[in-house]
Amino acid sequence: MQVKFEFVIYDETLDKFEQDDNVYLLELNDEQILTYNLLKDKDLYLYNWFQESEFFITWIKENVYPQSIGKKIAISVIDDILFLRFYFFKVTSGDIHYEYFKKLFDIFHEANWQDREEVGEQILERLLIKRRELIIELKEGDTKDSNSKTSK
């Protein structure tokens, strides 16, 4: 089974993310497919699993961004699951993103008086922290257990 990935590159100086327009395919083994299917309906659990998995980091370092030690990236798409809102949310973003973040960050929107813009600012504030949790820094280290095939 192949999983489609897209990434964003984090520019620390500008504190900004830039979309990498390429799509990368990762081949999962049977055990990984089981885990993937178990987590695919829980977007951040799925993200965390990949982020914490050695095979995934190895694949990135060897196949996606080789010779890029020190580079900071984040996953923006896994198959049809979009994480773009974490990096590119704006106060003017659509309602669906507001609903997602209000639930995720437990933001209570008192819609009988509160402006949408005020809630948007609260979301952006929380995202400053959340984004840091999602960033993957490519570091020097063991890359022998790749356990996967890739194509671009």
Binding site: L84, S93, E110, A111, D115
Partner: protein
């Protein structure tokens, strides 16, 4: 509890009931509730009767409560019941700080007099509690000290902040000279600015009386055959009792109908938000009531200016439009638009913007928005573990009503005593609040809800139905429950 007072209220209630051919027992049967709960306001009766003998803690520590309104004084009272050796100081400058604010709508509707809701702070200071009649103007949480306006420095081991909020009339252009006001106390500056202009607000006790005067004047104008515009506002800040800006619409409507003047009046409600109420079920019910009564409403309008001489209210009118495609988000943007809208009025009821007092907002204990940032369940300050906040000043959602305080003060006392004993804090506030929404003179929809954003009725009755029995509860039962139940620390 003051049984003489309750008996007097019951006698008045019986008189009202008998004029409609009902006994009190019949009324209770109609409501499907017990006598005690009718008097005590829902679940509170059980709580009041079972809390007569609370566990007393031997924990020690100097507790300072800044603010002696309903929240501060009820908390002080409950602490005296729960601590064997209480060392409590309340700092409160207003002589009428414990006045019954939920009654201000009834004063504005001509049902009560201002004297019916005026209560003296000094009559409600719990035995053994020290009172400092001064205002705290400085907070030094790193050294556990507060400073009063007269320069007195008061140290504490534990601090409870219950200052309430301020009514920010000065933010509205044209009313700058009104300054900021509190619900009780001297609001002569505000009254002077508003004068006899048709502009009023129920958010102060004196203002409620003034509202009744102005309401009568413009009801009479409508009765004389002149088309009369009644305009009601609701701001872009949290407000005390989210139902109050609508209650005054309903009361005005009742008085117009009673005078046979309704057909000459147009009642228009301008809320900043996009809903009538934050709870969908109550929003829907209120919307139907507005349609039934022929009110007009315009969402997303925030009052920014009043031209007193021209009798024009200026609103910031807001709306949203579908924006451009955002390729990064792979979705369309939503663009906020706004413009100024000038609305002529004869009678203008202002629900003022409501904010944290400067001395809190500008201190280390306030948040960027001014309110005191607390854990919304434990009410403990998020930075200073020996500080708690309660009532209007605490940064908790939907928490600015007396009904919220009735739940919060028990949670706070449990948690503070646990903290003093070095134990884990046991109690959690779940966001309960209650708004007896007056929908006419004689009917109330009892809106009870919490952070589940669902109705949480205390009675086995459809919470969306307007009932006379809840009107009786609002007019006769809730005040004694508050003044003698809560302020004694028991209900």
């Amino acid at each position: 509890m003051d049984y003489k007072y309750i008996n007097k209220m019951l006698a008045e209630m019986d008189k009202d009931l008998s004029s409609k051919g009902l006994s009190r027992r019949d009324a209770m049967k109609l409501a499907g509730i017990s006598g005690a709960s009718l008097i005590m306001g829902g679940a509170s009766s059980a709580e009041a009767s079972t809390e007569a003998a609370p566990a007393v803690s031997t924990a020690k520590g100097k507790i300072v409560i800044v603010g002696g309104g309903l929240a501060g004084m009820s908390t002080a009272a409950r602490l005296t019941l729960n601590l064997a050796n209480p060392d409590i100081t309340v700092i409160e400058p207003q002589a009428l700080s414990v006045s019954y604010q939920p009654g201000q709508t009834l004063v504005a509707g001509g049902i009560w007099k201002e004297s019916d809701i005026a209560y003296k702070r000094d009559d409600f200071v719990p035995s053994g509690v020290k009172l400092i009649k001064d205002k705290v103007i400085g907070f030094d949480p790193n050294n556990n000290k507060v400073t009063t306006a007269s320069g007195e420095v008061v140290s504490y081991d534990y601090l409870i902040v219950a200052t309430g909020l301020q009514l920010d009339f000065e933010r509205i252009k044209g009313l700058e000279a009104a300054g900021r006001a509190y619900s009780s106390g001297d609001n002569s500056k505000l009254l002077k600015v508003l004068g006899d202009s048709g502009v009023c607000s129920i958010y102060t006790a004196e203002g409620a009386t003034k509202t009744w005067e102005q309401m009568q004047k413009y009801v009479a104008q409508a009765k004389s055959g002149k088309k009369t515009q009644f305009v009601f506002t609701d701001p872009d800040t949290p407000v005390k009792c989210g139902g109050a800006p609508k209650k005054i619409v309903y009361l005005t409507n009742s008085r117009l109908k009673e005078a046979g003047a309704r057909e000459n009046a147009e009642l228009t409600y301008y809320p900043n938000g996009g809903l009538m109420f934050g709870i969908p079920e109550y929003h829907d019910a209120i919307l139907e009531q507005f349609k039934r009564e022929g009110f007009k409403w315009h969402y997303r309008h925030n009052l920014v200016e009043v031209e007193l001489e021209n009798k024009i209210a200026v609103f910031d009118s807001k709306w949203q439009e579908k924006g451009r495609w955002d390729p990064m988000m792979r979705d369309f943007e939503v663009i906020g638009k706004h413009e100024k809208l000038r609305v002529p009025y004869d009678f203008l009821h202002i629900t003022p913007p409501q904010i944290a007092p400067r001395e809190i907002a500008e201190s280390d204990i306030g948040s960027a928005g001014g309110w005191i940032p607390v854990n919304k369940e434990t009410l403990q300050h998020i930075k200073f573990a020996n500080i708690f906040a309660i009532g209007d000043i605490a940064q908790v959602p939907m928490g600015k009503t007396g009904g919220s305080v009735r739940k919060q003060y028990k949670v706070l006392v449990d948690n503070l005593i646990a903290k003093m004993e070095g134990k884990k804090m046991p109690s959690k506030y779940a966001g309960y609040t209650v708004c007896p929404l007056i929908t006419s003179i004689g009917t109330v929809m009892l809106a009870e809800f919490d952070w589940t954003v669902k109705p949480t009725p205390s009675f086995p009755l459809d919470p969306l139905v307007e009932r006379w029995v809840f009107w009786l509860m609002k007019v006769y039962a809730l005040k004694p429950m508050t003044m003698y139940g809560m302020l004694s620390g028991r209900a």
